[in-house]
Amino acid sequence: MSQTAKPLVRHPALKRNQLGLTQRDYEGSMSTLCAGCGHDSVTAAIVQAFFELEIPPHKAAKLSGIGCSSKTPAYFLKEAHGFNSVHGRMPSIATGANAANGDLIYIGISGDGDSLSIGLGQLCHAIRRNVNMLYVLENNGVYGLTKGQFSASADAGTRAKKGEENRMSPIDPASLAMTLGASFVARSFSGDKPQLVPLIKAGLSHRGFALVDVISPCVTFNDHEGSTKSYAHTRGHAQEVVNTDFIPFRQELQAEQGAGELTAVTMHDGSVVRFRSVSEGYDPTDRNGAYHHLKELQGRGEVATGLLYIEPTSLDMHALENMVDQPLVDVPFEKLCPGGDVLSKLQEHWR
């Protein structure tokens, strides 16, 4: 493996994980996004999450649609295959790749235009199939790459840079996902790395479809006064409902620090998600209760963040489809082709 060679050339000061990799080894090419774009912070959080989870970069697959957000897979995990597909159709690419090789760790990056307009149908159906992947929705309320039109997540009353107002009510990916039966739903803010990193790690470890809706401001087209997706507005209205802490499998639990009752959920791979309800009586394992709470906050103009809902024991697409554990790409042809004798037997019935 090429990594083993790397440490030699690395600067000794750089911290290494069990694989001997430094955080740099999880980075990608230089970002070409605008200085200050929220998406770059999300990229940084992803890099840290993968580094801390000690995932061999090439065992991950990065998928995206089209948009500024969808460009970002080029900016992390340079040693992983990436697929920057077409606008709004990444979920189907992910579904197919997943069917072919369930052993890879799939991370999909999308934007609010990519996911909630052109891609809404595919997103909903990937959720329904519970495709095993982390789906990061970099949500800025606008179409960045096409210069700032409102997206479907733009709040009613929010104003565009040029001043005109969006009057339609937004599509909220989190409550939508919960309604559709998603097995993992979280929301965070690109400016809140301490909250975002554990959520990404939990999402990566969740077996099934993990949606992380990240408010990720567009500094160029939607960070002005009057926008409800600006840094300022988000800082002012984000309401953490659950504080999450992720302990990867193999790492011993540290002594529980801090107050408040602490719940722990164990994932398929043995990792543990620990969370502390910040918002009074919030239980992220109770779908209807969580949904209700979410909507109440929304009613008050507040944005619930944190691990909103989790169903750690849900069946993912592979289980639902009763597929073999071995990735289909690894099944030898001999096991797939029934051969000549079977063919002649079959044809006996066709006479």
Partner: protein
């Protein structure tokens, strides 16, 4: 063309008109199979409505000792079970033919013809007396006319008995009722009519090496044998049965012996955009993946097809054509998607296509398609249609070469990558226009970023015109080079022919039958059937070698002719057209009339 002077033994067409949803399919199947087992070449064409229950539907069986089994509209025997269509069914009977109808109710005098013999059997009445329950009675009515036809057409009762035994081995309780229904119909004929009819059967030995298949079943089998593991689809007539068959076969042949788990994954997508997306994702990850669809689905796949072409992602698409444009006539056949297939998506694109003529080729071309798509790293289309895909064809028994191994094309292994200095996805290393690809998860060195946006030979994003063009020119060269390895055209030449008939797909049978008739009239014509696009040199040579080439195809706009004009050196004016796009399987009559018109043997009919 007029068959009627000929002896009709082992040479007739039987047409059964019923109401859809009344379960006549299995009865008609028994008839087909019986004729087949008597060794007589036979085919069955299902002319059904885009509806589930209550509308007219027909099944046409043609038995022909010469092996001509394309559709023929010369109906010798009509089984008229649907009063709603009595008029057109009776009118459609050939002079001297017979009409079998249900005499439980009197037949309207006005419909009678004196050049046709009417055989009334009180089927409904007999079934009411002999069976219980309306559903049962309806079903048995069908079996009863089978019994009657057995007598009228001289079908061997033992053969029918054998078929019923196989059919109901699992459910013996149905055996008795079927037997008595057969007998009831048979006896009635013996008592009341002269039998057999001039249109009758006589044992032959012409079907020993054959099987009865439809193209969708055969294509599905091809996918199984090619080692396809991921199938994605969205239901659409007439392609749905392809995936139904694939699933059925996999349940039988693709379960892990120990765990009973699936060695395949079939996903019913939310629409065709998702279906092709799933196929691209699976192929990109290294699986052999496919999607069956039809016109409307193909239109929806345009954007993704362009991505696959430009990013060089394999994908096998089956286009089971139906009558277009738009929703068109979903249960009628046509060859109207040729242009859409080869030029799908915006921008400069060109796609590889295979054109099977029958279920046998559907099987072999399906396997071939997976090799081609991986070898050339571009989408490959198997272009079939409703007639080939859903009708019952007699074909040679399928053979399988157990030494076959998939051609995965230029896929680099971890070892190969390790031994490489550096890997570039779109570099033309071998000078054949085909780059090397890598699969995710295999090795860090193989990592690259797949994109539909501008990229250079290194796989890097680019907006540089020269670097962009370099990749585009290679793509053109790559796809063109496939012409050399695609199935060669089927060519049949005769001495002294200056006229060539060019055709494609399911038109084969009708065209060959027409050529046989012309031969009898000592009018020699050569035959070529295109089997792949881009066109091979031999096609060019054939066309240039004939003064006039008549292109026979099933669409309005002469799409095959257009492709020949664009992609060969032949001069336009030497390419004539015979077009049939009414939605039914092609018949030799249409071909003959068209060819005679083009050759100036008869005046052009003004429709």
């Amino acid at each position: 063309m007029d068959y009627d002077t000929r002896d009709h033994t082992n040479d007739f067409v039987l047409k059964i008109g019923t109401v859809n949803g009344t379960g006549s399919a299995s009865a008609n199947g028994i008839l087909m199979q019986a004729i087949f087992r008597m060794g007589v070449p036979v085919s069955g064409k299902n002319i059904f409505p885009s509806n589930i229950q209550g509308l007219p539907t027909w099944y046409e069986i043609r038995a022909n000792k010469r092996g001509h089994t394309s559709r023929s509209p010369h109906f010798d025997v009509i089984v008229a079970m649907n009063p709603k269509t009595y008029e057109q069914d009776i009118a459609g009977t050939r002079p001297g033919g017979s009409v079998l109808y249900d005499s439980s109710w009197p037949l309207d005098e006005a419909l009678l013809r004196d050049d046709v013999s009417f055989l009334g059997i009180p089927l409904a009445q007999m079934c009411v007396e002999s069976f219980r329950g309306s559903r049962k009675r309806t079903l048995m009515k069908n079996i009863t006319y089978v019994g009657a036809l057995a007598a009228l057409l001289a079908i061997d009762l033992d053969v029918i008995d054998e078929i019923l035994k196989e059919k109901f081995s699992s459910k013996p309780h149905l055996m008795d009722s079927n037997n008595s229904a057969i007998k009831m119909g048979h006896d009635y004929v013996l008592e009341h009519f002269d039998y057999p009819l001039p249109a009758r059967l006589e044992r032959m030995e012409a079907t020993g090496d054959s099987v009865l298949m439809n193209g969708n079943m055969a294509a599905a089998l091809g996918c199984v044998y090619a080692g396809a593991t991921v199938g994605a689809w969205y239901p659409i007539t007439p392609s749905s049965s392809l995936m139904d068959e694939f699933v059925a076969l996999c349940k039988q042949l693709r379960k892990d012996p120990e765990t009973g788990e699936n060695l395949y994954c079939v996903i019913q997508a939310e629409d065709e955009l998702a279906a092709i997306g799933i196929v691209l994702g699976a192929s990109w990850a290294g699986a052999r993946a496919f999607t069956p669809t039809s016109g409307p689905g193909l239109s929806l796949m345009n954007e993704f097809i362009g991505l696959a072409y430009y990013a060089e992602v394999p994908a096998v698409l089956f286009d089971i054509q139906r009558t277009g444009p738009s929703t068109g006539m979903p249960t009628r056949t046509q060859q109207g998607d040729l242009f859409q297939v080869v030029f799908a998506s915006h921008g400069d694109t060109k796609h590889i296509a295979l054109f099977p003529a029958d279920p046998g080729e559907c099987f072999h071309f399906a396997v071939h398609a997976f090799d081609l798509t991986e070898r050339f790293q571009t989408p490959v289309f198997v272009v079939s249609d409703l007639d080939i895909g859903m009708n019952d064809w007699m074909c040679d028994r399928l053979e399988w070469d157990d030494t076959y191994r998939p051609d995965r094309g230029k896929v680099l292994s971890a070892e190969e990558l390790q031994n490489m200095e550096v890997f570039y996805r779109y570099m033309d290393v071998d000078g054949d226009g085909i780059p090397y690809r890598t699969l995710p998860g295999v090795d860090p060195k193989g990592a690259y970023f797949t994109r539909g946006s501008g990229h250079d030979r290194f796989g890097r994003y680019t907006e540089d015109g020269d670097l962009y063009q370099e990749v585009m020119d290679r793509l053109a060269e790559k796809v063109e080079s496939a012409a050399d390895v695609l199935p060669e055209p089927e060519i049949i030449q005769v001495p002294g022919a200056t006229v060539g008939i060019v055709t494609i797909g399911g038109c084969r049978g009708a065209v060959l039958e027409a050529i046989a008739v012309l031969a009898d009239e000592s009018i020699p014509v050569d035959f070529i059937r295109i089997r792949g696009f881009p066109f091979s040199k031999s096609i060019n040579e054939f066309l240039l070698a004939h003064e006039i080439n008549i292109v026979v195809e099933q669409n309005r706009d002469a799409q095959l002719r257009r492709l020949l004009i664009l992609a060969t050196d032949v001069e336009k004016k030497t390419l004539a057209s015979v077009l049939d796009y009414k939605g039914n399987p092609l018949s030799a009559d249409v071909v003959l009339r068209g060819v005679r018109e083009r050759l100036g043997l008869i005046p052009v009919a003004v429709e």
